[in-house]
């Protein structure tokens, strides 16, 4: 009824090669952006913006990065959090060495450092395949975390051993540090995330994305199409680490405000992998859905007893959150093994033919 492409004729390939060829999708996207850019900052409470939306966007960006590697190129990674750390530490170093340069520039630039480290740890991927590759990323995870702990230069010899975020301004408005309002930080995060998502969408829908997916689906055939495996995989490592690194810089500068190396531990890596798989491998929208489910579901679970006035201890709620999150993961896998993105696609398909069942 509302979601129907009948009557939308494409008269040229340009229109049909667009990323959103269907009009309703474009309208939906515009609506979402409208809500994200205007409605939420206007009407959202501080908790929604600071503790729900900013973390959600940051995690979604990291999930997109990881999805490029795991979902689009089929290379498993258990070390994503360490690359978030590389981004965060790079941004910290760059912004203290050159404090006069705008912080947003450094946040984005820190992605390049992360990309370089990603390529380095991606090199074994030529020889090592499948789950075996997980070991290279695990080595990265533990080694990099050790470096954050052990190389005092990285944290500017702070006695606390942590990196702390001073106030930086953008056009005179503080964007980091405690005096930056959540709304300002939200706008910076949102703008970067939307921009980078757009770029990711362009990449995966074009030649580069097709090459990655070809490597993922059938690497032998891809080689015989003239796709060189190592450059394709390394490019995936680089782009993926870039995204994850920027997400890491955003996490520390826009969300946490200070970070110890523990913020980039193995659990964080696993959680990112959750998001990607639950959301849907090889789907950008899935990365958002996965981040939403994994980050927001526990928040809601924690609020339910409070809202219903049931007196439960904070720890019990936490235990229940673990159980429910775990059960939901299994439940979603059983219901739709291809992730939330596939559920979304099925829902769209149903809408397209509604009210008829087929």
């Amino acid at each position: 009824m509302f979601y129907r492409e009948v009557g939308q004729f494409k008269t040229n390939y340009a229109a049909d090669q667009a990323i959103f060829p269907i009009r309703q999708d474009r309208i939906g996207l515009a609506l979402i952006l409208l809500v994200a850019f205007i409605v939420i900052p206007l009407f959202g409470g501080e908790f929604l913006i600071a503790s729900v939306m900013i973390p959600f966007l940051v995690l979604a960006l990291a999930a997109i990065g990881l999805n490029i590697l795991v979902g689009y190129t089929g290379l498993i990674s258990l070390g994503a959090a360490a690359f978030m750390g590389v981004g965060a530490y790079a941004c910290y170093k760059l912004s203290t060495i050159f404090p006069e340069v705008n912080i947003v520039v450094w946040i984005v630039a820190s992605g390049f450092v992360s990309a370089a480290v990603g390529v380095l740890f991606g090199l074994p991927s030529l020889r090592i395949k499948g789950f075996y590759l997980a070991i290279a990323t695990l080595a990265a995870q533990f080694f990099l975390q050790w470096c954050f702990q052990r190389v005092p230069w990285l944290y500017n010899y702070n006695t606390s051993g942590a990196i702390e975020v001073p106030t930086h301004t953008l056009f005179g408005v503080p964007v980091t540090g405690a005096s930056a309002t959540p709304v300002t930080r939200y706008y910076v995060v949102l703008t970067i995330v939307v921009g980078m998502t757009w770029v990711a969408a362009n990449l995966v829908h074009g030649r580069i994305g097709r090459n990655w997916m070809a490597v993922r689906d059938m690497d032998i055939a891809a080689q015989l199409m003239g796709i060189r495996l190592l450059p394709a995989k390394l490019l995936a490592f680089a782009v993926s680490s870039f995204y994850v690194g920027v997400a890491g810089a955003l996490m520390v500068f826009m969300w946490l405000g200070a970070a110890e190396p523990e913020a980039f531990n193995i659990n964080q890596s696993f959680i990112l992998l959750f998001m990607v798989i639950i959301g849907g491998l090889g789907s950008l929208i899935g990365s958002f859905l996965g981040a939403a489910l994994i980050h927001i579901l526990p928040i809601i679970v924690r609020m339910v007893p409070d809202a219903l006035g049931i007196p439960i201890g904070a720890a019990t709620v936490e235990h229940l959150t673990f159980i429910i999150t775990g059960a939901m993961i299994i439940f979603f896998l059983v219901v739709e093994p291809h992730g939330l993105a596939r559920l979304w696609a099925i829902a769209k398909q149903k809408l397209r033919v509604w009210p008829f069942p087929y």
Partner: protein, 437 residues
């Protein structure tokens, strides 16, 4: 459409979260706790102690100054991200103080405190430099910093060896959690090593390897340090004690900062007898205040704590922490004449805190801990501590009160506070007035 439901979900969270209205007839005290996660073992008794003391005040006195305390626990799991979420969740309810109970969370909150006007109490943890009230008017970390702790351990070792000058040529081993907390004393230790001519041996333990320390202790066996100092947390501590027993390290020469509990030492059995830690409060239940808690809270089933845990080291640590909160609130009421005080008032309450012997007696804490006083400049107190020795079931005080080497600690604190303000460009100058009496 899933996207829409998502936003519907988000909308509900906004509505549900900040019940921004604060009742005028109560004072909101959130307690950040961690009963879960890798450090849950240490976190649980602390959480119980904090909670039970405040509940006891509600039961016995009807709160503080006639105003009930609204106590709310928020579970952080010792995770910075969850801690920040807790902070954002409690902020709209007007907390008068937050206790992050994690160095990571504390570091994230320090810059926010001045902006949100919520004082931070990080009792003997967090950022040592925050003891400097001139730089950090909103942060309080009594009664000692980790540097104070290190200086007192060394003083004790010196006394054992027959004077600090006898440390010359000795080897002192330092086993620590390879995180900010464990690394913080390193520059101080270096300096002391230079001053007194002893040699240090470092044994870092990564958080992920807490229960896998045999390599570190093999190194200890090789290096044969004359004394061992430990800055550990969670499962690091019992494992270290067991490994020390295993290699036959003389327990009497193994001294820890104030975090190990009875349970940490018990696991190693007889071998752990002689293990020592610093402490600044009693580790038993023989005080009126603890009796009140037992009578009014624990025995009425209003506590999550097992009965036998009341009076243990970490439980009492929690009680001490809550006593600080309560005293700050009471001071704030006195200063402002208001009943329902807010964060700004409580900050002033902390700065004017003066718990002398008489006050301790009133509190039912006579002999529980030493008198102390905070000022606008000194948010720590740098109080003396004593050494307690594990006798197989409990800790027994074995030394007199040991004063920290304030002369050596203060310059470092000052320099560090200055460095913090410099590195965090635009760090606000103190504008808060001082209520010095």
């Amino acid at each position: 459409m899933l996207r829409k439901t998502l936003f519907a979900m988000l909308a509900t969270t906004t509505l549900a979260a900040p019940a921004a209205v604060r009742a005028e007839d109560s004072i909101f005290v959130p307690l950040f706790t961690y009963r879960t996660g890798a450090f849950g073992g240490s976190g649980t008794p602390i959480a119980d102690g904090m909670h039970d003391y405040l509940s006891m005040l509600n039961e016995r006195d009807g709160g503080i100054g006639g105003v009930k305390l609204a106590i709310e626990e928020c579970e952080t799991g010792y995770d910075t991200k969850k801690g920040l979420e807790c902070y954002e969740a409690v902020k709209p309810k007007g907390p008068v103080v937050v206790n992050p109970w994690s160095t990571g969370i504390t570091l994230s909150l320090i810059p926010k405190a001045a902006v949100d006007k919520i004082p931070i109490l990080s009792m003997a943890y967090g950022l040592s430099a925050s003891a400097q009230g001139d730089t950090f008017p909103w942060v309080f970390n009594p009664p000692d910093t980790y540097w104070d702790g290190m200086s007192m351990i060394l003083k004790y070792i010196g006394a054992q060896a027959g004077g600090l000058d006898k440390l010359k040529g000795k080897k002192i081993g330092y086993i620590y959690l390879d995180a900010g907390f464990g690394k913080e004393p390193l520059p101080f230790l270096d300096q002391l090593a230079k001053d007194y001519g002893f040699e240090t041996k470092l044994y870092p333990v990564a958080a992920a390897e807490m229960q896998n320390q045999s390599a570190q202790w093999l190194n200890v066996r090789r290096d044969r340090p004359d004394y061992m100092i430990m800055y550990g947390w969670g499962a690091l501590q019992p494992t270290a004690i067991k490994e020390a027993v295993k290699i036959g390290y003389p327990m009497e020469k193994f001294i820890s900062i104030w975090w190990p509990s009875e349970a940490d030492a018990k696991g190693a059995g007889e071998g752990a007898v002689g293990f020592k830690t610093l402490n600044w409060h009693a580790a038993n239940a023989d005080f009126p205040v603890i009796k009140d808690i037992q009578k009014l809270v624990v025995e009425k089933g209003k506590s999550q704590s097992p009965k036998e845990a009341v009076g243990t080291v970490l439980y009492n640590r929690g009680v001490y922490n809550s006593m600080l909160i309560a005293e700050a609130i009471r001071n704030a009421q006195k200063l402002t004449g208001k009943k329902a005080v807010n964060g700004e008032d409580v900050r002033r309450g902390f700065e004017t805190m003066n718990v002398d012997a008489a006050r301790l007696k009133e509190l039912g804490m006579d002999g529980f801990t030493g008198a102390f006083k905070l000022t606008c400049a000194d948010h720590n107190g740098h109080r003396p501590t004593f050494v307690q020795r594990f006798d197989g079931t409990k800790y027994v005080k074995v030394s007199d009160w040991i004063e920290p080497m304030t002369d050596k600690v203060m310059p470092l604190l000052e320099a560090d506070a200055k460095a913090y303000a410099e590195k965090n460009a635009g760090w606000p100058k103190r504008t808060e007035a001082c209520d010095a009496k």
